[in-house]
Symmetry: C2
Subunit: 341 residues, 2 copies
Amino acid sequence: MRPTVHDIAAAAGVSLATVDRVLNRRPGVRHVTREKVETAIRELGYIRDVAAANLAKGRTYPLVFILPASDNSFMHGLNGEIRQAILRSAAERTDIRTVEVSAFDPAALVAVLEELSREKPCGVAMVATDAPEVRATVDRLVHAGFPIVTLVSDLTGSLRHHYAGVDNIAAGRTAARLLGRFLGPRKGEIAVLAGSMLVRDHRERLEGFTAVMAEEFPELAILPVLEGRDDPEIAHMLVADALARNAGIVGVYSLGAGNRGLIRALKEKAVDRTLTVIAHELTTHTRAALIDNTIDAILNQDAGHEVRSAIRVLKAKADGLPVIDAQERIRLDIFLKDNLP
Amino acid sequence: MRPTVHDIAAAAGVSLATVDRVLNRRPGVRHVTREKVETAIRELGYIRDVAAANLAKGRTYPLVFILPASDNSFMHGLNGEIRQAILRSAAERTDIRTVEVSAFDPAALVAVLEELSREKPCGVAMVATDAPEVRATVDRLVHAGFPIVTLVSDLTGSLRHHYAGVDNIAAGRTAARLLGRFLGPRKGEIAVLAGSMLVRDHRERLEGFTAVMAEEFPELAILPVLEGRDDPEIAHMLVADALARNAGIVGVYSLGAGNRGLIRALKEKAVDRTLTVIAHELTTHTRAALIDNTIDAILNQDAGHEVRSAIRVLKAKADGLPVIDAQERIRLDIFLKDNLP
DNA sequence: CCAATTTTGATGTACGTAAATCAAAAAATC
DNA sequence: GATTTTTTGATTTACGTACATCAAAATTGG
């Protein structure tokens, strides 16, 4: 039978009230007494019953998700997953709210963080914009005892407790190797379509991609990056134009959103040549394109996993409990047409 | 504020005791009264506080894992993950026990299931051996109200509540496409190393592999399957022999265990030719081989995820709660040297 | 209509912890 | 040594549910 607070009290030779004071870091316990209790806790292997504690406290977990106001299908999907989580909140004692912040606007993000810190949620999950002032604010809040996790996009070098997202450098490297291997002995040029080089994820993917390309597939030349602003129309225009101008393109890596436009451009050119294409994010459009061979592989991060992981980690941090690292690692999914979910 | 049993009682105009009888399916409630209570529950959107209920019941979840007594690194890993889960059992109210059954022995498995059904655990996770008598026993136990999930290896057509494992046909198909695409225009023969064709997982992987090979890469011929019995020594012998005899081999698909032997054979022949190799299960050996380019890709199922998923599903079934399907889908991991965890 | 039976209500205790109160004891201060 | 301050104990209530008991009411059968 699991030891309870009563057992601790008996073993330490103190009262229940004192054990409670020690457990909940309440003042008014002499150092030696505190030691006695802590020894008893260790010796009996006492583990606080979190469920009972939460019941007694009437605890809920007010959580805030800070999301950029970007209108692309990945962010829509992420929003959808958060809504799913909100539906589960009764059972999970969570109380989830989302806040939209204009994208790539460090000042706005800092302002929201400041405001949140006043209303004291028990955790914040944020799609980070990588800027020094954001890092400074996050560090300050973490120091003040706020659990903060980054979602999808990390804030490197900050004190955030956890990052619920994929390793984008590894993603870029993986894309490069897949593309290089799929192309085999073929030589030629590679078009890269990104959303914006101002976004950290995209920069990192490109970084990984170019590194492996340079190291391992020197016969493939990377063309200047096309910045499609995650917009299907712009993406279509840029890709169609690049394909028309440049007959030597043998592969395409799309590391951002706006794949609808990319796919349209590819289909228009399908008769001319066979391209090998790697894209990010599994959506209705990319899925269809993978099935009809317009795209050869899709790299994906599972937004649902990211949201659930962020919630689990924030709850655990709020309770001072450990997390299972392997469980919270967000994996890079590689989808070929054969292993689609 | 979440409604409680008191609110339900008040809304339905009955006493707490009656609400309790309805909620816990105790007898002694007239049909009309039961309806009234159920209406109130629906209208107030009452959700039972599982934590409080478990506290009151002093509930624990006695779970049993039935594993084959196979001595390969995947099963060792699985065992390790179960031990990890056992360490967490205090916090999760689980009480986990493992039972070893001689591998590929339907009669032994049935006997263990029969015996378990007498001691009434609240759930069973089993690595299934695919046989009619096992299926029949499982169906009977499920009918009797036992939550049962299959682990790693499924029992198709049975009534098991859930399968915590990967889709092995999809895995085989994925391996074929990767191998085919990596080889590109090269023609030649493909060696397939399996554990045993008596194991369902292996049969399914081979089935998916040959299907895609035949459909999409007809210029690659699959050699007769080498059955290495998941034993490194035998695998080494078989692969070394095949490579020595057959100069036309351009690719290898290892769909079972015993990869240590495979890797040794590959390294011995490394000077002769460049082979493209796809193997299953990420272990120390396959990881090292992936990094030094002996293996080109590894397909993996995460044993930790499988174990945790099985536990979550069994607990949910025992409590009659829903599961989040997307969360419990075990994904096929594809590792290149760039996205290793 | 009475008796037997079923259904319902009222109430209390328990689960393990949190948190508050007030009194008592111990320690520190002057 | 008296006073103040700090520390500790004893006790109670609460969280939301489960479960048991006994009495009261309603329903059913004869």
